[in-house]
């Protein structure tokens, strides 16, 4: 692991310990009340979900054009994070919606597109695990669709009439809401980088192991 990894883990742990206090001290929202505090984990995890899909897509694109296995390893690692942060987003969202909207789920554009984006990444992982030889390039093609879905998820609330809050909520947040949100977002970003690095390390070691097996056989 690189030298920055251990201090970054310590910093991330500290930030994870501080963020509940900031969230607890944040004010209640006037119409949603207590349940709005889900926002501080729902939104950062949704951002990481989209970021992971972009990383997976860009790495897959570079792998398809250059054939460098390092890009493939990065794409595979990012795809797992799409699934992780995606499931966090898709579970915390309905828990919030149940109270705020009165329903667990709405088949509106953002929610449906997010579910599709998550399922594309699940398909990517299944393809990598069970697809056999050549599945790396097929999965890379699939990851491009996952990335193409990202801007659609983001802007959908502004173009279609939907119950989901629009993208104007975050820029207009008062400091009392903004501070815990941005602190939580930076914490999630750090966690994302650390998890991505650890997951890439796993793929590097697997590649090293494969090379060793080949040298034993040869």
């Amino acid at each position: 692991m690189p030298k920055w990894f251990t201090p970054a883990v310590a910093l991330c742990g500290l930030m994870l310990a501080i963020s509940p206090f900031l969230i607890a001290n944040a004010p209640y929202e006037s119409t949603m009340g207590l349940v709005q505090k889900i926002f501080y984990v729902h939104l950062p995890s949704a951002w990481m979900f989209l970021l992971a899909a972009i990383v997976c897509g860009v790495a897959s694109l570079r792998f398809l054009f250059r054939g460098d296995p390092r890009h493939d390893r990065l794409a595979w690692a990012a795809a797992e994070l799409v699934v992780l942060f995606g499931i966090v987003t898709l579970v915390t969202g309905p828990l919030w919606a149940r109270k705020a909207w009165g329903v667990w789920w709405q088949w509106d554009v953002r929610l449906t597109a997010s579910l599709i984006g998550w399922m594309v990444s699940v398909a990517y992982l299944l393809l990598r695990k069970y697809g056999g030889p050549g599945s790396d390039k097929l999965a890379a093609g699939l990851a491009l669709f996952g990335m193409a879905n990202v801007p659609f998820i983001y802007v959908s609330v502004n173009y279609w009439r939907t119950i989901h809050p629009t993208t104007s909520v975050v820029p207009t947040l008062p400091t009392s809401f903004g501070l815990p949100l941005w602190f939580s977002a930076v914490t999630f970003l750090l966690l994302f980088v650390l998890l991505l690095r650890a997951r890439v390390r796993l793929e590097e070691q697997r590649a090293q192991l494969d090379a060793l097996y080949l040298s034993v056989d040869g």
């Binding site: 006037s30 984990v41 919030w96 650890a198 034993v216």
Partner: protein
């Protein structure tokens, strides 16, 4: 041919029964969905802070909040453990293979 047609008609009829619609009847819209659409609040453009939480709002929201945060913690912990377990497994295999290679005099 006649047998297949009869089977198909029976299947359609059974599906209709399961969905609460008999063949020849007009399917009605699910009433709760109609009510649900009518009850939908307007989408929010900004969050407005308040100092006090309305009393009727405190109890129902708490379990949802607890479940949400518990899920986040559990999901992240499970993934961390999964990566650590896989890293440990691959590292053990690497160490074992390298030791075998050294014993057999290959580098």
């Amino acid at each position: 041919m006649m047998k297949r047609t009869c089977v198909a008609v029976c299947l359609i009829w059974m599906l209709g029964l399961m969905g609460g619609v008999r063949p020849g009847e007009q399917a009605t819209e699910w009433p709760s969905m109609t009510v649900l659409h009518a009850q939908q609040p307007e989408p929010q453009d900004e969050f407005v802070p308040i100092d006090e939480l309305p009393p009727q709002d405190q109890l129902p929201a708490a379990p949802l909040l607890v479940v949400a945060y518990a899920f986040v913690v559990l999901a992240l912990a499970a993934y961390l453990m999964s990566v650590a377990r896989r890293l440990g497994g691959v590292q053990r295999d690497l160490d074992r293979l390298e030791a075998e290679l050294k014993r057999s005099g290959r580098s």
